[in-house]
């Protein structure tokens, strides 16, 4: 089941890892994405730490780590084709993060997220 953050990230649990991307709503708000900087694999991150830089034609913004953990993988194709975030935001994942225990129940489900973006 997909979960969502207030920062418009989607989270998908895969064992003890979660896969993180941004929602279609966020992609629409950002406009054409032209630059993405991903974190290093192996980096230990705190919850709420800004770990991805995403720039659209209009502005720069950040993506934060939804939980504390270690970055286990990044989507290497993204920096070369940042437009993929606009074309298919659900397929354009940014990074995978691993934690000793993963509990996403505190994050919004789809109904709650849809209510947030109205």
């Amino acid at each position: 089941m997909l979960r969502y953050t207030e920062d418009h990230e989607w989270l998908k649990q895969d064992g003890d890892e979660i896969v993180v991307g941004i929602t279609a709503h966020a992609s629409e708000q950002l406009g054409d994405v032209v630059f993405i900087e991903l974190p290093e694999v192996g980096r230990e991150v705190e919850q709420g730490e800004e770990i991805v830089v995403i720039e659209s034609v209009k502005a720069a913004s950040d993506i934060t780590a939804p939980i504390a953990g270690v970055i286990t993988a990044v989507n290497e194709a993204l920096p070369d084709s940042p437009g993929a975030v606009n074309e298919d935001p659900m397929a354009a994942w940014f990074f995978r993060i691993k934690a000793s225990s993963v509990d996403l129940s505190g994050f919004m489900d789809e109904a709650a997220y849809n209510a947030l973006i109205g």
Binding site: G31, D32, V34, F35, E37, V53, E55, V57, K58, A59, A60, P79, P82, N86
Partner: protein, 370 residues
């Protein structure tokens, strides 16, 4: 809550899915569903229609009006032929720039177009000329459209058959369905195109008549900004302001020989004592183009250094972003004049210094019909 003014095209923008944002006191379209990137590329390839009705339009009338305006602007107004337009600057006593503007000679009067954010201040400034018998008439009942791009001429010719005869910076009046259009062959995108002032009663119908042409798409302020940035054009409040001298802003070209030291009408405008010696000697700083290596855009406010670590701060980016036609990041900054194209400087972005190459302006060659 602040109240934002709406142009006559507000409903048209909303109906076409525009995202509206506050801009200089107005509620303006920043982009349409096509998106900034495609709006930019569409304008470079075809024709884009911009609502610039928020800009200030002013008529100056009276005996010796050209002479009078020369006391406030550094351009050559006496030498401006009827049916021609020129770019100029309002300056202050310290040599700074109060606003940039377009000035057209329409025979029995001058027609000025000024920036939206400065319009009120500009009109108050112009009212000094009333003492010299000049009437200052803000135009409050006309909209302003810009049709820009290589297909603008063919499109406008269908509605206004006389338009193609105009050359770059010509101004003329035409009739369209009973409305008198004030047309200039100019714009702020680096493309061929026209700016058209039209009575508010007909502005929606005229815009719709242009938008049904297959070449034309409505374009928002987002792409207007990326287009002018690629064209190396400065924007008031970003690349120039009251503390920037014309030479520093790279706008010395707009001050002609006649008004420089040794010219037939040298000086006579505010701040000339500061501006003219600086132009004669060369200013210490100048607006330069920057091409960052890699894909990360460097935007307004990013600091520029002369070394990858430590070193001296040279200035800050005044306009920067992604250039869709260039296919990469582009920026402008006012930097020490000794830097020449090809030199490397460093931009401090998120705590890291990235190499940036000084590049001649513009980034994208304009295609005006001269």
């Amino acid at each position: 809550m602040a109240e934002f003014r709406r142009t006559k095209l507000y409903d048209l923008h909303v109906a076409r899915g525009a995202k509206m944002v506050p801009f200089a006191g107005w509620d303006m379209p920043v982009q349409y569903p096509m998106g900034v990137l495609n709006e930019h590329l569409h304008t470079r390839a075809h024709a884009g229609l911009f609502d610039v009705s928020h800009m200030g339009q002013v008529i100056l009338r009276g005996p010796d009006v050209a002479e009078a305006l020369e006391t406030l602007v550094s351009a050559d107004i006496l030498g401006l032929a009827q049916g021609r337009q020129r770019y100029g600057l309002f300056t202050n006593a310290e040599g700074g720039i109060l606003d940039d503007l377009m000035i057209a000679n329409k025979g029995d009067h001058l027609f000025l177009v000024v920036n939206a954010a400065c319009a009120e201040q500009d009109i108050a400034h112009l009212r000094q000329l009333e003492r010299a018998g000049i009437s200052v008439e803000p135009v409050t009942d006309r909209g302003l459209l810009a049709l820009q791009g290589p297909e603008a001429e063919a499109v406008l010719a269908r509605l206004v058959p006389g338009a193609p005869a105009m050359k770059f910076m010509d101004v003329a009046e035409f009739d369209w369905q009973g409305a008198t259009l004030w047309v200039s062959r100019s714009g702020y995108t680096g493309e061929d195109g026209f700016e058209i002032s039209i009575p508010e009663a007909q502005v929606v119908a005229f815009a719709e008549a242009l938008l049904v042409q297959p070449e034309v798409a409505p374009i928002g302020l987002g792409a207007r900004d990326s287009l002018r940035l690629e064209a190396g054009m400065p924007l008031y409040g970003h690349d120039m302001d009251a503390s920037t001298h014309p030479g520093e802003a790279g706008l010395g070209w707009s001050i002609p020989k006649a008004r420089r030291m040794g010219g037939v009408r040298a000086g006579g405008f505010p701040g000339a004592e500061v501006i003219l010696p600086e132009l004669a000697e060369g200013s210490a700083r100048s607006r330069l183009g920057l091409r960052p290596e890699g894909r990360a855009p460097i935007r307004e406010g990013v600091a520029i250094f002369d070394a990858p670590e430590g070193g001296a701060a040279l200035g800050t980016v005044c306009s920067g972003g992604f250039g869709p036609s260039v296919g990469g990041p582009v920026a402008m900054a006012i930097l020490p004049a000794g830097l020449t194209p090809g030199a490397t400087v460093w931009a401090e972005l998120r705590g890291k210094r990235l190499p940036v190459t000084i590049t001649p302006l513009p980034f994208h060659q304009p295609s005006y019909r001269r």
